[in-house]
């Protein structure tokens, strides 16, 4: 009798519709969700940055760093998909440190949303300038992921920035080139103060000699002549911006070496 009962329950479980558990909360919540693998309830709780308070660094709260600094920034602006709350920290941790690569597509699609917002913002800015009609659509020309050091890459097995850029690149048909390499291992950023990070970053990156030829070739064939080249640096998180600025300096330098005007933007998944 009891075994019959248990078989009935199992048979019923087989026949009932299966809802895959949510990637982030593990619950089987019904209902369709706009992001793959995540339930509706978790998606609703995502702290999107839909209108940044600081137009320079894309921060959702007032930003003393950008107002304080007087030196010119190598980037036009940064935009981030979400505010780095504890829940988002957990998501990124699951991806980066635990190695749950199912998060890759999810975070990539979230970044894509930030890209679309940036695109929209730039398009309306162009419209308000009332320039030529052909300028009324804005899109980036190249994506450059922030590199990780070789030892970190071997340990982790992947570069999260590159994977994020991959998703964006495929969806929006923007080419991606690993223009940069990390010259020395800076250790985990999360254990450092702001000043330490900035000092550390100064010489952490360099031009990637392996893609120089490819880059030159791309410049020759693809660069639009009537406006500056738009390059987006992609990373998982923007904290002080020192990483992004260090990368942007090199990208600017590379552009001017070839005699092109380059506009560098940055797109990160989270803004702390």
């Amino acid at each position: 009798m009891s075994s019959l009962f248990s078989w009935l329950t199992k048979a019923q479980a087989l026949l009932s519709p299966s809802i895959t558990p949510c990637l982030t909360c593990g619950k089987r919540n019904p209902g369709s969700s706009p992001l793959p693998g995540v339930c509706r309830i978790c998606v609703e709780a995502i702290p999107w940055i839909s209108s940044p308070r600081c137009l320079k660094c894309g921060r959702h709260v007032g930003c003393p760093d950008c107002t304080r600094s007087s030196e010119p920034s190598p980037i036009i602006c940064n935009r981030s998909a979400v505010a780095y709350t504890s829940v988002m920290r957990e998501w990124l941790g699951q991806y980066k440190y635990r190695g749950n690569e199912r998060y890759g597509l999810l975070l990539g699609l979230m970044l894509d949303r930030a890209y679309i917002a940036l695109k929209e913002e730039k398009r309306s800015a162009l419209l308000s300038q009332k320039t030529l009609i052909i300028h009324s659509s804005w899109s980036a020309d190249l994506l450059v992921p922030v590199p990780v050091s070789d030892s970190r890459l071997r340990e982790r097995g992947f570069n999260q920035a590159e994977r994020l850029a991959d998703v964006l690149s495929k969806r929006r048909k923007i080419p991606q080139l690993p223009l940069l390499i990390r010259t020395h291992h800076t250790g985990k950023q999360s254990f450092k103060s702001r000043a330490e990070r900035i000092a550390d970053m100064k010489h952490a990156f360099a031009e990637n000699p392996a893609v120089t030829a490819q880059f030159a070739d791309w410049m020759k064939r693809k660069v639009p002549l009537n406006r500056p080249v738009r390059i987006i640096i992609v990373d998982d998180i923007y904290t002080t911006g020192s990483t992004i600025r260090a990368c942007a300096d090199i990208v600017q330098q590379m552009g001017s070496d070839y005699g092109y005007r380059v506009e560098v933007y940055s797109l990160t998944w989270a803004r702390s």
Binding site: S2, G99, E101, R102, G104, L153, F158
Partner: protein, 667 residues
């Protein structure tokens, strides 16, 4: 990671070796330092380097699926290349399909991925030359002493590379830079097993596993575990079933990997929380040692006297001791023997395990106590430390500071068992039916891996799973019952109270008179009340109704979602709260001296028989108030409720028959 792979002929037998550092292998096989154990005995006739850097998963497959063929001695580069391609054919095909670089690019890429060195024998001759005066950059005398330390530090463990590094950083920092050499030498000495964390199991081990899975894993899980075995025969020629060797799950993730360079490197998603196990990740396991035998000389009565056990406890502990001392005739079965200690709630299980642990430790063995729940580990730790003051006790749980402490006595949550391999002579699993151990094949696999093949398993439970109860009934599982609580009073038998469902009460906005009346009686006898409900969502509404009915009584509610749960439980223990509305999260572990138990909606699907018995077991635990009241309140009378009551009655009956009931509780 990538490792070097070579084949070696030794007295006509060919074997494939993987190497973390070829200089160690060169030195070892060149026969330098003949005085060391075993090494000088082999003469190496031929050695062929297959690849200096092959993805570890592939290297391990080459090693584990190696079949000697005629004429290997005369093979040249081409033949070896063909052989390797044929063994790795499915992997190469998969890699091509995944969009990875093709075979040609792969192998020309590294210069000579499996091209032989210029002269086939060159490798070893060159090293002979180098080693004539031990003119290598490694100090091998030092290395050998380091190997001793290393092998000792990882004894009985199963570790991934980051875990090895963490362990060394804490225990042997001087070895940090050279652990690969030490591990390689230990591997050559046969004291360490190097393998890929995700890979194919040898077919023999596979069958054993399906048999061995504890009954607790449930029918479905066991069926699932048996499934690959059935497939095995058909699939063996085509493709072996791969699994995570650490947790036993099938790897479900597959991504490009920078560490080995493959486009499709499989990884296990089931045990991610303990560090990622993947096809190219090194899994280092210490070679299994035989288990110790406990001597039967230990006198059960003396042990009972020393630990202050009641007659019922002493009887069961004695039976378990006898089980440990038994000579195992069937050790050829290659799986640990199992024993069930079926002790009612409040029987004093912890005291009973002390003599068992003592017996194993006295015989020079290593013992492990595992429990699914962290709070139980934290509660048990000081008691074990007090009982065995001379032993180093390693207390392991997620986030514990003693992760790499190596003691002969280990107390751990079941998840931590993934880090052990054939390390313990005795494994005691407490509350094996509790969440999350219940029905989790991963934890069952981990527990089995942690025990030596000829070691012993003891399960402790008040409510063993159906499967295990069946084995007990049919006499296929040795066991001992403790049918009575330590204070010698019978278990309170639950009373049934017919009432409307909580949902209806909340809708109507009042509670049935009968329930209020019974609750009032309990409050009048100054008992503290556990009020169990089936759904978290009901707690708030019920609190409002109860507070209205009993003004002046401190009534609180808590659940797994409550951030103040710990505080409220403490307050309840300290009698600051009189009535606590809660869910099954408090069905175990919390003991208050004078308590009554009310289970509302006892007919809910969420309360199975085991859980009803556990909740009922919260009442009458103290010897000052052994006759607490238990009420099953529900509109319907269900099988689970009937089963729970009959289980309790059976235990009481056995206890009476054996004369364990010292006092009948006045009703």
């Amino acid at each position: 990671m990538r490792t070097a792979v070579y084949v070696l002929e030794c007295r006509g037998i060919w074997r494939v070796w993987i190497s973390l550092d070829l200089t160690v292998d060169r030195w070892w096989w060149s026969g330098a330092g003949l005085e060391s154990q075993g090494r000088g005995l082999v003469t190496v006739d031929k050695l062929v380097l297959i690849s200096p850097a092959l993805p570890l998963g592939w290297a391990v497959k080459l090693r584990d699926h190696f079949k000697q063929r005629d004429g290997m001695r005369n093979w040249g580069t081409k033949e070896w290349g063909q052989y390797v391609s044929s063994v790795l054919e499915p992997e190469l095909k998969e890699e091509r399909e995944a969009g990875g670089i093709g075979e040609k690019e792969w192998f020309s890429d590294g210069g000579s991925l499996w091209r032989l060195p210029e002269q086939s024998g060159g490798f070893i001759e060159q090293s002979r030359k180098n080693n004539d005066c031990r003119g290598n950059d490694l100090d091998y005398a030092l290395l050998e002493s380091e190997v001793e330390q290393f092998v000792h530090a990882v004894a009985g463990r199963s570790l991934l590379q980051p875990e090895i590094e963490a362990l060394l950083a804490e225990g042997l920092p001087e070895l940090m830079g050279r652990w690969r050499q030490a591990a390689q030498l230990a591997h050559l000495q046969g004291r360490l097993e190097l393998t890929a964390a995700v890979g194919c199991d040898a077919p023999a081990a596979h069958g054993a596993r399906a048999r061995q899975l504890p009954a607790g894993a449930g029918t479905l899980a066991r069926a699932a575990a048996r499934l690959p075995h059935v497939w095995w025969r058909g699939a063996v020629a085509r493709r072996a079933v791969s699994r995570c060797l650490r947790c036993g799950s099938a790897p479900t993730g597959r991504t490009a990997c920078a560490a080995c360079g493959l486009m499709g490197c499989a990884y296990c998603e089931a045990c991610l929380a303990l560090g990622r196990s993947r096809a190219c990740a090194l899994l280092l396991r210490s070679a299994a040692l035989p288990a110790v035998r406990c001597t039967a000389a230990l006198d059960p009565t003396a042990a009972a006297g020393r630990w202050g056990l009641s007659p019922a406890q002493a009887g069961a502990a004695g039976a378990a001791l006898g089980f440990l001392a038994e000579r195992r005739e069937c050790s050829a079965k290659k799986c640990p023997e199992r024993f069930l200690l079926w002790a009612v709630t409040g029987a004093g299980k912890t005291e009973m395990i002390f003599p068992l642990l003592e017996a194993v430790l006295a015989a020079g063995g290593r013992a492990l106590v595992a429990t699914p729940r962290r709070d139980v580990v934290l509660e048990l730790a000081p008691r074990l430390a007090k009982a065995f003051p001379a032993e180093i006790l390693a207390v392991l749980y997620g986030g514990s500071a003693e992760r790499w402490v190596s003691g002969r006595l280990t107390l751990a949550t079941t998840h931590q068992l993934l880090r052990f391999h054939r390390g313990f002579d005795l494994v005691i699993i407490d509350e094996l039916d509790a969440f999350p151990y219940h029905n989790d094949p991963l934890l069952a696999y981990a527990a089995e891996q942690a025990c030596k093949v000829d070691g012993s398993f003891i399960y402790l439970s008040a409510t063993p799973p159906q499967e295990m109860q069946r084995l007990v009934r049919s006499g296929r599982l040795p066991h001992a019952r403790v049918p009575v609580r330590f204070h010698g009073h019978p278990l309170p038998v639950p009373q049934h109270l017919t009432m409307t469902s909580v949902q209806t009460c909340l809708k109507r906005g009042n509670l049935p008179r009968s329930l209020i009346h019974t609750l009032r009686k309990s409050l009048e006898r100054v008992a503290q009340i556990f009020c169990f409900v089936s759904r978290i969502a009901h707690i708030e509404g019920l609190l409002v109704l109860l507070r209205r009915s009993f003004p002046g009584v401190v009534i609180e509610g808590t659940s797994s979602k409550d951030p103040f749960r710990a505080e409220k439980v403490t307050a309840f223990r300290n009698r600051a709260i009189s009535l606590l509305v809660t869910t099954t999260i408090l069905e175990r572990g919390v003991t208050v001296p004078r308590s009554d138990v009310f289970i509302l909606d006892a007919d809910s699907d969420l309360f199975d028989e085991a859980s009803l018995v556990q909740m009922a077991g919260r009442a009458g635990r103290s010897k000052d108030d052994p006759g607490g009241h238990v009420v099953f309140a529900s509109p319907q009378w269900t099988r689970s409720q009937r089963g729970a009551i009959s289980q309790i009655r059976t235990m009481n009956m056995i206890a009476r028959r054996k004369g364990y009931i010292s006092k009948e509780t006045p009703r």
